[in-house]
Symmetry: D2
Subunit: 377 residues, 4 copies
């Protein structure tokens, strides 16, 4: 009999549901079922938790473990058949939605010299962070950009885009980041293959960077950009690192994040896309930040250096190119283990979603001087 299997999420607290199952109620529940309805008090405590319990788990993906598998995918499948040769990060708690953390997808993609993917567009927004290789390029709505290690590039929702590696390049690997799981969850994902399979490059190469990444607070006059995302598509590593180093000289930084800067849309001063933000932060030699937690999911890639992060009481060691995630509302703190060199963490997140919907919340750890106790498993 069906009623035997009902879950009951009772809590003995004033203001919370606490209804005992009785034969009469179980029969009532069955009746409600017939009308596509149910009794709120049977699930109220479950769907109104005291605070978020992320279904994601903290994970570190070590590049030394993944790299050979990524490279090998190029032997195993052709770009024509695979579309893209990507080993994606599958959070043990989020396998059903193919997410690395929360609603964020991420994967490591590889392409060989002379390869060029099919042009397409989708409602999902995407970003790339280059890990190794030379000759990579991306085309976004007719704007072509060449890419080197630690460059960050966006291919926003609705833009025609494709990636390739030039003939004289080397096999490349980069990290993809997309909001595919969120777009699917919101049932708003559309996908279109370019009618001619490749788009034309209709602007001078690197024009987006030349126009919008000006060094000193300058933007093109007479501009008519009206999209919700940044007209600057590529953010290069060298000036990014230089900016952080320069900023580090004049700031105390954040107690939780060290010296941190956000990649921005120069048209608005806001995040690069409407669903995903990205940042680069520098941890000074030996720096150990304090713990805080917040809504929103974050996926980090180590751009430089080595160290560890403590997430939800667990220690995760990392070095260059390692990727790790911090799920929603889990305390986290970062440590640069090198006493003489700085470390840099690239990260992307869904903070624009939290902010647009008015649900960003943040909290510092009060106990223990702001540091978590590491739990021994």
């Amino acid at each position: 009999m069906k009623t035997a299997a009902r879950a009951n999420h009772r809590e003995d607290i004033v203001g919370r549901a606490n209804v005992e199952d009785t034969p009469e109620l179980l029969a009532y529940y069955d009746e409600l079922d017939k009308h596509h309805t149910a009794a709120l008090w049977t699930v109220a405590n479950k769907i109104e938790p005291w605070q978020p319990q992320s279904s994601s788990v903290p994970v570190v993906w070590r590049y030394k473990d993944l790299r050979e598998h990524v490279l090998r995918s190029a032997d195993l499948v052709s770009p024509e058949k695979a579309g893209r040769r990507v080993v994606y990060l599958s959070n043990p708690g989020r396998q059903d939605v193919a997410a690395a953390v929360g609603w964020l997808y991420s994967g490591l993609q590889t392409m060989r010299p002379g390869e060029l993917a099919t042009s397409h567009k989708h409602s999902a927004s995407a970003l790339r962070f280059i890990m190794e290789g030379s000759g990579a390029f991306t085309i976004v709505d007719g704007h072509k950009m060449t890419l080197g290690a630690n460059d960050f590039v966006i291919t926003p929702n609705g833009t025609w885009h494709e990636h390739g590696v030039s003939e004289d390049g080397t096999q490349c690997i980069w990290q993809d980041g997309l909001d595919i799981p969120l777009m699917n969850a919101l049932e708003a994902n559309f996908f279109t293959v370019h009618p001619e399979l490749q788009q034309a490059v209709t602007y001078p190469v690197e024009d987006s960077t030349a126009a919008w990444a000006a060094g000193t607070g300058l933007v093109p006059a007479n501009d008519t950009w009206s999209h919700g995302y940044s007209p600057l598509f590529k953010y290069e590593w060298a000036p990014t690192y230089e900016a952080l180093a320069r900023y580090a000289k004049v700031t105390d930084g954040s107690p939780f994040d060290g010296v941190m800067m956000n990649y921005i849309n120069p048209k608005t001063g806001g995040p690069v896309m409407q669903t995903m933000g990205a940042s680069m932060q520098l941890l000074r030699p030996g720096e150990h930040t304090k713990a805080h937690r917040h809504t929103g999911s974050v996926l980090y890639q180590v751009a430089k250096g080595k160290g560890y992060s403590i997430i939800n009481g667990q220690r995760f060691d990392w070095e260059e190119h390692d990727i790790f995630c911090v799920p929603t509302w889990m305390f986290h703190e970062h440590v640069n283990a090198n006493p003489s060199e700085d470390a840099c963490l690239f990260s992307f997140n869904d903070m624009p979603v939290m902010n647009s919907l008015g649900i960003y919340r943040e909290e510092a750890l009060k106990e223990n001087g702001g540091h978590q106790k590491i739990q021994t498993p």
Copy 2:
């Protein structure tokens, strides 16, 4: 062996993944598993669909079916034990998240004269649409409002709120609408019971309406409201219907929605809350709108009249107080079946989410004069 069970979402279209399982690949996939990774091409076509396929199904909940069950809940459980006596709408495709459609929760709540719920607050935003009974009231952050049939009231995210029915009232029923499923999905839901279980009424009764629902484009001067939601909490039925009737005289209306108005935040001209919008539309006698579809989910309640809607080729008849949903990207058109009286549909939706994230998309039906063919089951 695990590999035997793998799904494969191949499509034989250029630009889509089309990789055949081979023993070598299946072994490779097993290897990836060990590192919390997987091959994108095995799921790419699944997670990048050509267009959204909503997991919700169109449903009509008929009030004549539900009413007795809702009333009966007051006999079956006490407000102290149940928290709230609500029969919620459980979409067959969304039972796992307790949603009526998409990420929107809805239920029918009842309270008896003299009852008063515990005050609390949560990250989820809520709205109410009164269906029957007299003496209902809501308190939001110290502002008390009395409520009559077809009144619409909001209790936004983060506000202390509670509902009750005065001693001299009658048993009331109203529809609740919340973004609980979305807040849970975004792992951003917090819940707090008021430390004193009831809040004080610290403003004159009805002050929000008196201040902000002025008839002719007036708002309080010297105002310092800075929240993301409307300072106007209650939108009464009488002036709403009057507004529609007046507007109907000077507009042709929308081909898809008849004469439609949005409830707004008078501080911004935008939606009442950051995650949910609400509207009231009037279908003129005999009006049959054209079909369109769009991203975002909508839940309708019939405020007045009778007729039917065609959703995804299926006809759903409705009359006063019936509730029905239109899932994302399903064609829908509405018919006022009465040739001499107008019909009114109240609705709420997650369009603010679609708009804030840049993913709203709309399409008119081109075929058959803009009307769907009704599918006979």
Copy 3:
């Protein structure tokens, strides 16, 4: 010799210019003249005053004095020759720019039944406040509105507009308010006569009010308004007074302004036009507000009741239809002299300019319990 006549604005205060004229300097000044230059220190204290000294003076224009002159203008000049028969308010300190106060123009216009002005448009923004007569109407970009006493109507910058009185009306008088002096000062005033001298009424009469002045926080859905001014052109007196009366019941009001509401653009919640705002305030029976001062100029018309205002220490008595001005940075307080009836003041101002340019500043009078001492002349 020219140098003899030079002004010198010396102040003997550290940080201020204090240079004595010498023959050498006077010769130097003559030399600078030749190159279209001058020495800053000779004018610095003048052009950088410690605080604003308005060139406008407080004035009350009594309707009983002006009415006969306004009516007589209709005998003296034809609408064809005069364009508009307006007696304008000429502040003694602002005669050179034809302003009533600051950069605001205002006048009393009259039209007879059956008269219709030529359609035109200009960069100056305009508003009207109806004082007497029946049958008046205004057409704005194809939208026609009929107007009664104390109705407020806008004809924003760049809109085709014209005024008239219907054949079955009576001779009308209304107050015009425009930013003509500001537009001239900013050298941005353009004027065009309608190519056909009259524009067509292309929308249903009163459609703007029917669509946008809905009583309870509702606006048309599917709207695409993109102008910088309000789509609601007319704000009627009856619902305005009703709104104030209703708001008065739930608010303590402002110490400086009593119960005050702003006319707003329902698309934005902001002022009705980008250069001029407007308000209606209610002074409760016997109310005597406290004094404050602020940047920005205000022109008041008494919509109801009688009393007086103290402006810069001077008392100005007023009754219905009287108009008075408060120049920039002059202390002002208002008194409703009637112990049993409320009084209402309509006002318009250039606060949107102050706010857009970041130069709004306000200060309460601290001395004497917040009340000015009336200076006896």
Copy 4:
């Protein structure tokens, strides 16, 4: 008799005032005078011109003429007595308001090594463009910046600020630009001397530039800036010129302005201050732009190269450090006279005022291939 002297601005055009003086009318006008009123039709055509006629005239101020006078001011007056030693640009049409053009003030200021001005603040916004000398610095609200040739620095409204030249520097000259005339016209100008005459430097030197002038679309995370002006105070010449040169490679530029970039507020992507914008434009070797005109006043300084501009049909030759103005609504086109070197024009303007108030208007010259005919005097 007074009436004899009245101006009459009659125009014999339908829709314009065209009333002949009669003895009866002249007596009526005298009567109106007594009540601080006047007849609109006597001034209507004057105050509602068909299009703006700027009271400013085009002027070029040649540095070779001014330099010696500027330097000499340092011999003639002490900083203590003069406040600031500035030779200001006095447009022949705007001497009454001490403006260089429209409502913009500008002057050439000089300071000697070891001098330091008194700290103060005012409602007027200010900017500086360095012309010659070494060791100059500016302090803004505790942020100190050193300044070299062609650097651009802002000291926004309401900020404590002061300028100086270090002991080991050389005598410096820079151009000041302020909206003093506008602030005076708007009667919103306040001035305060710092209570301690000098402010403390409370941030690391150059911190504003280090934090906000990052090279590649990065801004400080965790920032809480909430002012209406840019947190970036200094825009250095080297990266500005580099940015222009880089942008020039990927753009065709504007037909009217060549390769032009705006200095922006990185928090908003908008102008550096709410009342004044600034730009730098590069004219390619031999470039001759087309003529256009617009509302808003512009003051140019030649940062590099030589050439001429045609303003209102008049040719104005210029070379490095020359300053010239373009008054409102006058056609202008620019010519780089050097066939092998680029030329750069720095400019500032009141476009933010035009845009905020909704009165920006622009027009290309249609005749003669878009080029003005030079009028021989």
